[in-house]
């Protein structure tokens, strides 16, 4: 795990930007050239290229060897690492929250009982 850490840092930094996440979402649907990627974002090609460099350095995307279009494509492995990491963190807390669900059910029942008792006394 430790060996993966620098890669994960770069991955999370790359994912912290909404435009880059949108680019990844677009590439999840299939590879696309820089021109194709720039179009929906209303951004200049150099601006998009800058984002693409960050994503490529993080290992999230790669450039296909089609000399003319040089389409970018998603590299799922690196995203899967980041996903696995977050997913385990999520499960850790979810286990705790499931115990809280049970406790809250108990507290609600207690409250209802108290209310009924009070009602009966009247």
């Amino acid at each position: 795990m430790q060996a993966h850490a620098p890669g994960l840092d770069a991955t999370f930094a790359a994912l912290a930007d909404p435009t880059r996440r949108a680019i990844l979402a677009r590439l999840a649907a299939g590879e696309a050239s820089v021109t194709e990627l720039a179009r929906p974002f209303n951004m200049s090609q150099p601006a998009i290229s800058k984002h693409l460099r960050v994503l490529e350095r993080a290992g999230l995307i790669s450039t296909s060897r089609d000399a003319q279009r040089r389409p970018r494509r998603l590299e799922p492995r690196s995203l899967a690492d980041a996903n696995e990491w977050l997913e385990r963190y999520r499960r850790l807390w979810e286990a705790s929250f499931q115990r809280l669900d049970a406790l809250l059910d108990e507290l609600k029942t207690q409250q209802k009982r108290k209310r009924t008792k009070r009602g009966n006394r009247r």
Partner: protein, 159 residues
Amino acid sequence: MKNTGTLKVTTPTDREIVLTRIFDAPRHLVFDAFTKPELLKRWFGPRGWSLVVCEVDLTVGGAFRFVLRGPDGRDLGMRGVYQEIVPPERSVHIESFDDYPGADSQVTAVFTEREGRTTLTATVLYPSREVRDAVIRSGMEHGAAESYDKLAELLALAA
């Protein structure tokens, strides 16, 4: 299950983690469960861990102290100070783990109620990306190896 459950975890910026979770209970109960030691002891912590020390001074500037004991007998201590308390809708505190001295994070918890259900949004702000990632990584060591979901889910989560 009534559309509750299912914790969402997102990283909207490189210094934050945001947890979102719906509970099927009014927010005064959820707020109590997050701030009263006798209730916290019953749910807080990873599976197999128990909260052996839980002291809470629920006042602005008041401190709390938690010690979690793991299945192997290992203790994990954390402490913090409350900065804002607006029962039952909001609390802000600073917290740190004994294992990461100086790496304080700020936790903003917002409880919103709708039709008897409560949505918790907890934003954890770390001093740097490195600290945040180190904390998630250490959290993972305590968890069992689990399967992970597909790429599409992360993209949906992050978008």
